[in-house]
């Protein structure tokens, strides 16, 4: 659909794990850096390293996504005694968005300022879309231009998709496989 201002695509399931550092019990960022060759951000933000994306989603709190199915177990071994690791591979419903009007459409739905100067590639917002708590990522530009991802707890997926369609409707929505 050539004239769709916004294209939505449900992301394929991927291994995801929550990492919550035990206060004063080691160096979680150091351990993650050693394992994935990238510094985990200390404030909401997203970096990529060796097949995984590490997003800061709270104080001393990260969401690691991607890689092998054994990601949670690997992190549990890596961070034993330093952080609580929880398997969240089935917990999130992730939608990818792009298109010429994607910022405008998202702005109708989420509460944070989406001006490019305030929310650019690598930024992460823990915010609300409609009544839903979501994680919003601004991804690196791709062949399709600006890209975003938005995650919500799995049980809310239908409500989030409804809200996204309502927000993007005026710009034309294309749902990709």
């Amino acid at each position: 659909m050539a004239d769709a201002g916004v294209t939505l695509r449900r992301a394929e399931a991927r291994p995801m794990a929550g990492v919550a550092a035990f206060a004063g019990a080691g160096d979680v960022q150091g351990a993650l850096a050693q394992a994935f060759g990238v510094a985990a951000p200390a404030r909401p933000g997203r970096v990529e390293g060796q097949g995984v994306a590490i997003s800061c989603v709270g104080a001393g709190h990260w969401l690691v996504a991607g890689g092998e199915a054994g990601l949670p177990a690997r992190l549990r071994t890596l961070l034993d005694g330093q952080a609580a690791v929880t398997d969240q591979s089935d917990m999130w419903d992730v939608t990818c968005l792009h298109g010429s009007s994607v910022r405008e459409a998202l702005a109708r739905c989420v509460q944070v300022d989406l001006h490019p100067s305030r929310f650019g590639a690598g930024d992460v917002a823990l915010t609300r879309a409609g009544h839903l708590d979501v994680i919003l990522w601004c991804m690196a530009d791709g062949a399709v231009g600006e890209r975003f991802e938005i995650a919500v707890w799995r049980s809310y997926a239908g409500s989030l998709h409804h809200a996204l369609h309502a927000a993007a409707g005026a710009f034309g929505v294309h749902v990709a496989d």
């Binding site: 550092a21 035990f22 206060a23 019990a25 969240q88 009544h131 839903l132 799995r154 239908g158 409804h162």
Partner: protein, 503 residues
Amino acid sequence: MPASGAESAGIEALWQVPDSQGKAFVDFQNDVTAPDVALAAREGFTAVEHLKRYTTLGMATDQGKTSNVVGLALMAAQTGRSIAQTGTTVFRPPYTPVAVGVFAGHHRGRDFKPTRLTPAHAWAKAQGAVFVEAGEWMRAAYFPQSGEADWQTSTNREVLTVRSACGFCDVTTLGKIDVQGPDAGKFLDFVYANAMAGLAVGRARYGLMLREDGLVFDDGTVARLSPTHFVITTTTANAGRVLRHMEFCRQVLRPDLCVCIEPVTDQWAQFAVAGPHARRVVASVVDPGTDIGNAAFPFMAAAEMPMLGGVAGRLFRISFSGEMAYEVAVPARHGEALAQALHAAGAVPYGLEALNVMRIEKGHPTGAELDGRTSAADLGMGKMLSTKKEFIGRAMAQRPALLDPQRPQLVGIKPVAGGVALQAGAHMVPLDGPADAAHDQGHVSSVAYSATLGHWIGLAFVAGGSRRIGERMRAVNPLQGREAEVEIVSKVFVDPEGSRLHG
């Protein structure tokens, strides 16, 4: 062109007909009269905003559009000012136009609140489940089979199936919180009223949370998967509040403890499997090589184990129905497959209605009992409050009024005459004497038709009730003019010895 001379228009304001008989209304919507305005002036409410609040002049939906000028003129006359000096009040909507869209808003219809679906929702729908809203969740209320006339018929069948064979129920909606850290046990000791730090690995325990004022906040189960790893459940309704409360305890009250908490409700699909055949059904979904026999996996056991062919699941030997029962959890993507496997193994799906009947048959409290006014002692759980540790609500729970033996205590009730239905919300009054507030001795919190027993049963809070077993009272509903003579009985109607749990 002839000019006309200056001419008086002869117009004089007549705000009130002097010496008129009868009432002189000023505000036709709010029935404010001219004497009301005069009274306001005598009382000193001469400022227009005071006049408005004292008399309600101009407070109706027209915001004074039909009345204010007269009212203000009368006040001006009373105070020797002009109308302009007297002033006007703020004109609010609907006098001030408001776009209709503002009233309707965006949050309407499907957008009024989110809807949460469990991983096995589509499966339950395909089974013909009738759903009911439970907060944001859609839960299966019952699963009608062909030939069943109404929900009660379906529910009776589901209850009897669980009590005689095996049923399974989607309990994914329970809040699940992962608690990890070297101080996880100490933290749960602080959050729960009963002891948790000593819970053995591989075991689960009922947990009761109080508010800081000593009243009951929430309940659920606590399971210990390793020395530093617990998983807890909350009630469906309180999942968000409990998480916020636990974060408050962790961040603000006990920053000294090394512990992390993570909500994982949506990671897991969870089913209760209950009934005399539950072990056989559960064994069919657990991978070979794990012994879930009574000796290896007794009542209140909890463990991680492979199921459905290599899926890392969790099994808890806990029971809400009073039957031998398990809760089986798998990562959410396998939820539908688990439902299919349990069904294929011969378990019959049951819904929220049957769940509710069976928990009343066992005297377990839910939201109707945990209504923010009940103490642990009211629920018959006073002895659960630990005396060996500090916890939220401990100090305030010991207030004399909360220990008063005449407080309303949870008991069971059954109608004296067979075939009589009970009503939740009815008030408990003595057999003789009037049914009025002065003779009110409590209320009925939950009722159900017990297919197991063949009559209606209820749970009620009755003053000093635990010492009144066997006494007869009336459950009265003055709103509908109905009442039933009831007998106070133990709140555990079915299997009071709990022998089925251990089977």
